[in-house]
């Protein structure tokens, strides 16, 4: 019976110039993203093609910079035309839709009335001036989110702004920004929300979530903060290609130095990799051509909650990771850098930056990681 529906969809795809081979290739890359073997590609294809109807999506823009839409437009596998023409029916997406004004807004109402859609929210919910810090269609913009949340099969908050207010909520939060979860709870809508923080969102994660919803028909495994564990389960530091330099005590102390050119660890110039949970080091960005640390910049922790307050100043070390070397790495390599006096100085610096150097309440320095503690107890790297 599924065979009939599938045949219909194959015809549909063929009519659109999408070959079966292209489609399976795409499903294979989605499988890899979901942490599955490529053997699952046919099952994903079947799920996406489970009916002749495309899954409707409403992509609603709130207090945004449009960077998450832009980021979505950088998706290459599948590319955007495939997403909006062949996989989904994106009935509302301000930045790309043909329609305008009240005709555009009508698409929200029509889709909500029919139900069975995915809601994607980009940007902070704007509550300042009674919701008037964002006005859309002559009323507070947040009303569109409330309306669209009612009948949604799944809600995805894309990017740090939609997750928890992002930089817009940073102290002193002048325009009254908050995230989607908090807002919907405040208006009595209790629905699970998939949170995809980072600034902007990585498009591969959106595609993975959409396929997950289509494939298993329910939400993926989420942590206590609504983040899919597949994506946000380990730190950047854990998977960083420069991790070896950290272990060896090889650090960039300043920009413009030979250590920088040698691509040493950026921890001491402020890298927030140790406290930031995303899979950036291997999913990477812009169709996987690079990512922040590879380009030479420390991670600024944009995937963290309240990231601008908690992670700034960005070029200063604010976490408190157990540095290697204390437990007995050969003094000849790191001793000069990490001798007693230097280690104390670093500790003092972390305290100072936590109390004086920050705007807003700031986050506590990260406690020593269990991994490092165990290693130090064993005598460090020998």
């Amino acid at each position: 019976m599924a065979q009939d529906a599938r045949g219909e969809v194959y015809d549909l795809l063929a009519a659109r110039g999408v070959s079966r081979r292209d489609f399976l290739k795409y499903c294979g890359s989605v499988a890899a993203l979901l942490g599955l073997s490529e053997m699952y590609a046919p099952q994903i294809a079947a799920a996406v093609e489970s009916g002749a109807k495309l899954k409707p999506v409403l992509w609603i823009a709130q207090g945004l910079c449009t960077g998450c839409t832009e980021s979505m437009a950088q998706s290459r596998t599948p590319d955007v035309p495939t997403v909006v023409l062949d996989i989904l029916s994106v009935n509302y997406w301000e930045t790309v839709m043909a329609s305008a004004g009240s005709d555009a807004l009508k698409a929200i109402t029509e889709t909500v009335d029919k139900g069975g859609y995915i809601l994607i929210v980009e940007g902070s919910i704007m509550n300042g001036a009674n919701g008037n810090t964002l006005r859309v269609g002559g009323r507070p913009g947040r009303e569109d989110v409330k309306e669209a949340a009612k009948n949604a099969d799944a809600i995805i908050a894309v990017g740090s702004c939609a997750v928890d207010g992002g930089w817009v909520k940073a102290a002193p939060n002048p325009a009254g920004a908050t995230g989607v979860s908090e807002y919907l709870a405040s208006v009595g809508i209790s629905k699970p929300i998939i949170n995809l923080p980072t600034c902007p969102v990585n498009p591969e994660w959106i595609v993975a979530m959409i396929v997950d919803v289509l494939l298993v028909g329910k939400l993926p495994a989420l942590d206590s903060k609504g983040r899919p564990t597949l994506i946000y389960g380990s730190t950047i530091h854990d998977n960083c290609p420069r991790r070896g330099h950290f272990e060896n005590g090889e650090f960039v102390e300043k920009f413009g130095t030979v250590e920088e050119k040698k691509q040493f660890c950026l921890y001491k110039v402020g890298c927030k990799g140790p406290q930031t949970y995303t899979n950036c080091p291997y999913v990477r960005w812009n169709d996987r051509v690079s990512w922040c640390v590879e380009s030479g910049s420390p991670c600024i922790g944009c995937g963290n909650f309240n990231w601008v307050d908690n992670d700034a100043p960005f070029l200063t070390r604010t976490s408190n990771v157990k540095l290697p070397g204390i437990g007995g790495v050969a003094p000849s390599t790191v001793g000069a850098v990490l001798g007693g006096a230097a280690a104390v100085a670093l500790g003092v610096h972390a305290v100072v930056s936590g109390t004086q150097g920050r705007v807003g309440k700031g986050g506590p320095p990260e406690t020593e990681k269990a991994y490092d503690r165990k290693k130090a107890a064993k005598g460090g790297d020998k």
């Binding site: 009519a15 110039g17 109807k53 495309l54 409707p56 207090g63 910079c65 449009t66 960077g67 832009e70 437009a73 950088q74 998706s75 590319d79 023409l85 009935n91 301000e94 930045t95 790309v96 839709m97 043909a98 329609s99 305008a100 004004g101 009240s102 005709d103 807004l105 009508k106 698409a107 902070s124 300042g128 008037n132 964002l134 006005r135 859309v136 002559g138 913009g141 930089w167 002048p174 325009a175 902007p200 920009f255 413009g256 050119k261 960005w285 812009n286 169709d287 690079s290 990512w291 922040c292 380009s295 030479g296 910049s297 600024i300 944009c302 700034a312 100043p313 070029l315 200063t316 150097g357």
Partner: protein, 518 residues
């Protein structure tokens, strides 16, 4: 009759409402209302100067590079930093890649649907489409497959991003075959804008929002492999701009020549200039700074002549008429009232006049300043459209559209030169990419250009922290509300005089709004 309202204006960055008064099929008055206030300038107070680079670029997800560079330049001005030559070239390449990304995205994804009727493309004869593409000198695609793809899509009944479209409107003028060519390039452009962004991702970690142009220089070191990647993606973008975007523009323009007769706007043009040359003298930028006001001559642009008014926007009313270096931003929402306050956008004025900013301003300033390459591009295009020797026809809706695409052509040429310059510098052993500063006090301004126009960031640093921060974005200039004297902003003025065939579907007004790339 009641005013015609477009709210939300779609296919833009951010949130905009446009309201026009229409009498006898012509716009007689207009209001532009910015819908969003986030408070970035307030958020930056008290933070580290270098942090402005990371946070301020997040004003705009389409032009984060320009905001990042303006923030970094403001910090470098305040902390008295002169960046190494390699950093200058690298920033030019990143900035140029963003401009190409933005212009391609704007022409095909954001504004093309105002001129190109996707449904009409279904009627195209495939053989005639190939013949037309050859005649127009524009690149071909598998037009038959694309037509089938659209057909299947339309017949399925789920219109996705084309839901409730305005196709079939009497203001769509292109023949089906040209519509089909444009649809093919509309789809291809989505890949090309991503290629341009990949240049930035290689040099800046990712796009949007990049990581490497820190105050002091750059954190990016070129390697042979990375330069090879930059060159690879650049060549793809270059080919598309030269072989599709420019021929498409020239093929489409003759069907919309009426758009040279309206949409002019205030007729004052401001550019801060962009792309530094080796001297780092702003006047020698590849697109130079300047002001054109009322005549075809260029004057020096002086930031001291700016004042920002808030009589018609939702900010503390007593804090009006301030220069951005001393500017203040405190929200004070009242109500949406066209006679009082109606927008989150302030009203910046230069020498008390509203100023249009953007590619048209930059290209006119460069043209009238005697830039040889820009002169050749503009004069050549005017000749092809039968308007040789009449650059003033660029001061119109069609001119604003064409100027953006012609600027892309100019920048494609520059990018090739810069990539070569960087390779040569590295080969010659220049290994300086970053300098430090120990300054903790000072004032700086980053006067630069985003793809959509003149951009200014002002930063005061005291005790190593940001004491004041102000931004005047291109959209603040172009989407400006009325000023203290009630004078309309550039978009508002450009809408006046536009024909509106169907007040239910004000397509012509939408074209004018999009021509500013808000």
């Amino acid at each position: 009759m009641a005013n015609v309202v477009i709210d939300p204006v779609t296919r833009i960055e951010g949130h905009l409402r446009v309201e026009v008064k229409v009498d006898n099929g012509v716009v007689t008055d207009a209001w532009a209302s910015g819908g969003l206030y986030r408070g970035l300038e307030t958020v930056l107070q008290g933070r580290a100067p270098a942090d402005a680079f990371y946070v301020a670029q997040r004003i705009c997800g389409v032009c984060p590079i320009s905001h990042g560079h303006a923030a970094t330049m403001a910090a470098e001005g305040a902390l008295k930093i002169k960046i190494p030559n390699n950093a200058r070239i690298i920033r030019n390449i990143i900035e140029g890649a963003e401009m190409l990304h933005s212009h391609v995205l704007w022409f095909y994804t954001l504004t093309a649907l105002d001129y190109v009727d996707v449904v009409s493309a279904l009627k195209a004869n495939i053989a005639d489409t190939y013949a037309l593409a050859e005649k127009a000198g524009t690149s071909t695609a598998d037009f038959g497959a694309i037509q089938s793809r659209i057909k299947g899509f339309v017949e399925n009944g789920q219109l996705s991003i084309f839901t409730n479209n305005w196709f079939g409107h009497s203001a769509y003028k292109l023949p089906p075959e040209l519509n089909l060519i444009a649809v093919a390039h509309y789809l291809e452009a989505l890949s090309i804008q991503a290629e341009a962004a990949q240049i930035i991702a290689i040099m800046g970690g990712k796009f949007p929002h990049f990581m490497t142009s820190l105050p002091g220089g750059t954190a990016w070191y070129p390697t042979e492999e990375k330069l090879d990647g930059v060159l690879f993606h650049f060549n793809r973008v270059k080919e598309f701009v030269e072989k599709a975007m420019i021929p498409d523009t020239l093929a489409i323009a003759p069907f919309y020549l009426d758009a040279t007769t309206y949409g002019k706007g205030v007729g004052n043009y401001l550019a801060w200039g962009v792309f530094e040359d080796k001297s780092m003298d702003p006047k020698k930028r590849y697109l130079p700074p300047g002001v054109i006001s009322g005549s075809l001559t260029v004057a020096d642009a002086d930031p001291k002549k700016i004042k920002e008014y808030v009589e018609h926007s939702w900010y503390t009313q007593s804090e009006t008429g301030l220069n951005p270096a001393q500017g203040k931003t405190h929200m004070a929402f009242t109500d949406y009232n066209l006679d009082k306050q109606y927008s989150w956008v302030k009203a910046p004025r230069y020498d008390e006049k509203p100023m249009e900013v953007g590619p048209l301003s930059r290209m006119l300033v460069a043209y009238l300043s005697g830039n040889e390459k820009v002169k050749a591009i503009i004069d050549g295009t005017l000749a092809k459209l039968g308007a040789a020797g009449k650059p003033e026809i660029l001061m119109s809706l069609l001119g604003r559209v064409a100027a953006r695409n012609l600027e892309a052509l100019y920048v494609v040429g520059l990018m090739g030169d810069w990539i070569g310059e960087l390779i040569a510098a590295v080969k010659e052993g220049d290994s300086s990419f970053f300098v430090e500063s120990s300054e903790t006090e000072g004032d700086g301004a980053g006067l630069w250009e985003a793809p959509r126009g003149a951009l200014g960031h002002w930063m005061s640093v005291k005790g190593g922290k940001i004491a004041n921060y102000q931004v005047v974005t291109p959209s603040t200039w172009d989407m400006s509300s009325r000023d203290a004297k009630g004078v309309r902003g550039p978009l508002e003025e450009a809408l006046v005089g536009a024909p509106i065939a169907d007040p239910e579907k004000p397509l012509e007004a939408l074209r004018i709004v999009h021509s500013f790339d808000p």
